[in-house]
């Protein structure tokens, strides 16, 4: 019987086929691995872009809120203080120097306060002011502004930060603080609030409490979700910096917001992508 191929020919075919199959497997493995790496890089880039976008939005929101606060401050405090100072400095014809002296001193101290307020405004208009003055100082200034409105009794407590805070985490925390204060001002109808910043070696806890109506009551009455979406935003931002946000609220007994952020301090370079978990 005639054989289609000799033994040598079969050896040639078989050895070539085996080598080719092995080579194809190796090349396929390299290509699959490359595709995986490429996909992973794409994901990292997307996450980074999304993170930077949210950060930018946060920065813009903070700037917007700062401008609003400045506007209120100019109108409510500085404007009325200047008017009062002008009135105090007005010297009647039948007023002698001795009578006028207390008015003059009061006006001067008022003008001193106005100058301080204007300095604070000038500082807060600087886009990098949060980074420059730090989270604690920014919150303290905001608390001072709130106190001047005389709408709230504010209890403010903080301890000293052991290290410099991470810039981005600081920005997000200040955004959450501002959002919480806005919620209180807009919805809670509170008369007092307590604000606390507790720095520890490996974490930072920020607490904001009010004695207002509570979240459920507010939402039922106002029949909108604006406060709900604000709270969701705060949670989303907290997750971006691996923070844990807890909200406690009871009807007519106020709302408490507590955020705990692990490792909030400035870290070595290139750890950025590993520590951020935007969503």
């Amino acid at each position: 019987m005639h054989e289609p191929f000799s033994e040598q020919e079969l050896i040639l075919f078989a050895s070539t086929a085996i080598i080719l199959v092995l080579i194809i497997l190796v090349v396929a493995a390299v290509l699959i691995q490359h595709k995986r790496k490429f996909h992973h890089r794409q994901q990292l880039t997307d996450i980074k872009n999304q993170y930077e976008k949210t950060l930018l939005e946060t920065e813009l929101k903070i700037q917007g809120e700062t401008l609003k606060a400045i506007s209120r401050n100019l109108h409510d405090n500085i404007g009325s203080n200047i008017s009062t100072a002008m009135l105090l400095l007005y010297k009647d014809d039948h007023m002698d120097q001795q009578e006028f002296e207390p008015n003059r001193k009061e006006a001067i101290s008022m003008l001193d306060r106005i100058v301080d307020d204007l300095k604070n405004i000038a500082r807060s208009l600087n886009p990098a002011y949060l980074t420059e003055i730090g989270l604690s100082e920014a919150i303290r200034l905001r608390v001072q502004q709130l106190e001047k409105t005389k709408k709230y009794a504010i209890l403010f407590s903080l301890n000293e930060a052991p290290k410099t805070l991470d810039t981005e985490k600081q920005l997000i925390l200040f955004y959450i603080f501002q959002e919480a204060i806005n919620n209180i001002a807009t919805h809670a109808k509170a008369t007092s609030m307590s604000i606390g910043l507790q720095y520890e070696a490996d974490r930072l806890t920020m607490q904001i409490k009010d004695n207002g109506k509570g979240i459920a009551h507010t939402q039922n009455k106002e029949n909108n979700n604006s406060r709900g979406s604000g709270l969701m935003n705060m949670k989303r931002h907290a997750e971006m910096i691996q923070g844990k946000l807890v909200i406690e609220s009871t009807d007519d007994h106020g709302t408490g917001i507590m955020i705990t952020v692990p490792n909030p301090y400035r870290q070595e370079a290139n750890e950025y992508t590993d520590t951020i978990n935007p969503y």
Binding site: Q8, E9, T16, I19, L20, I23, V26, V30
Partner: protein, 219 residues
């Protein structure tokens, strides 16, 4: 006659294209290893043209391959010496570069002689080259670098040689014996399998030289 020649040895067109791509790449300022490789491909293109012309006129051309195959499989491992990062592999290449020329001379003088194709030298050189191409692919596999491998000239060179060697090692290794016992099959296999391997090899080499041009343009 030229048409007749091109009909039989049409793979020479791919050889010329890769040679032209290598010459084109040499216009740029390339690293030493790339320049060396480009010169090798130009030389081999000229050698293959000469070998095909000899074959077309029924003149034995194995002497050309006996001379240029060892050069090819000396230069390619030297090229990989610059591309691989593993110190152990670099040491192995150093040892190979010392031993291989000695083996080629010994094979040509005492084992297979000049009268036939030096298949042992070919198998040794091509086998080692194939191992180096696989080593480079493994290097890409384990690398943390996320740049596209399709823009890496060495990736294309590795693909070119891994497939070429996979087909040519068994065939050329057995060629002397096959040619004596099964000349018809050997000739048919040459025109189908070996031609296919040459075409793939030269297409990938052309891609490698295009990548060299692009990478130089980008930098």
């Amino acid at each position: 006659m030229i048409i007749q020649f091109l009909k039989v040895f049409y793979t020479i067109i791919f050889v010329w294209i890769s040679g032209a791509a290598a010459a084109f790449a040499l216009r740029r300022l390339l690293p030493f290893s790339y320049r060396m490789f480009a010169w090798l491909i130009i030389t081999l293109s000229l050698m293959l043209t000469a070998a095909y012309i000899l074959s077309f006129h029924n003149i034995a051309n194995h002497v050309l391959f006996n001379v240029f195959d060892p050069i090819e499989f000396f230069v390619i491992p030297l090229f990989y010496y610059y591309q691989l990062v593993s110190r152990r592999l670099k040491n192995i290449i150093r040892v190979y570069l010392c031993i291989f020329p000695i083996f080629v001379v010994v094979n040509l003088i005492w084992i297979q002689n000049f009268h036939q194709l030096a298949t042992l030298s070919y198998v040794a050189g091509a086998g080692f080259t194939m191992l180096l191409t696989v080593a480079y692919l493994w290097q890409l596999y384990t690398s943390d670098d996320t740049d596209s491998i399709f823009r890496d000239p060495v990736f294309w060179i590795s693909l070119a040689y891994v497939f070429y060697c996979a087909v040519s090692i068994p065939y050329l290794g057995m060629l002397n014996d096959l040619w004596q016992k099964h000349p018809v099959f050997t000739r048919q296999y040459y025109f189908v399998m070996y031609y296919g391997a040459i075409i793939i090899n030269r297409i990938f080499l052309t891609a490698a030289f295009i990548c060299m041009n692009r990478s130089v343009n980008r930098s």
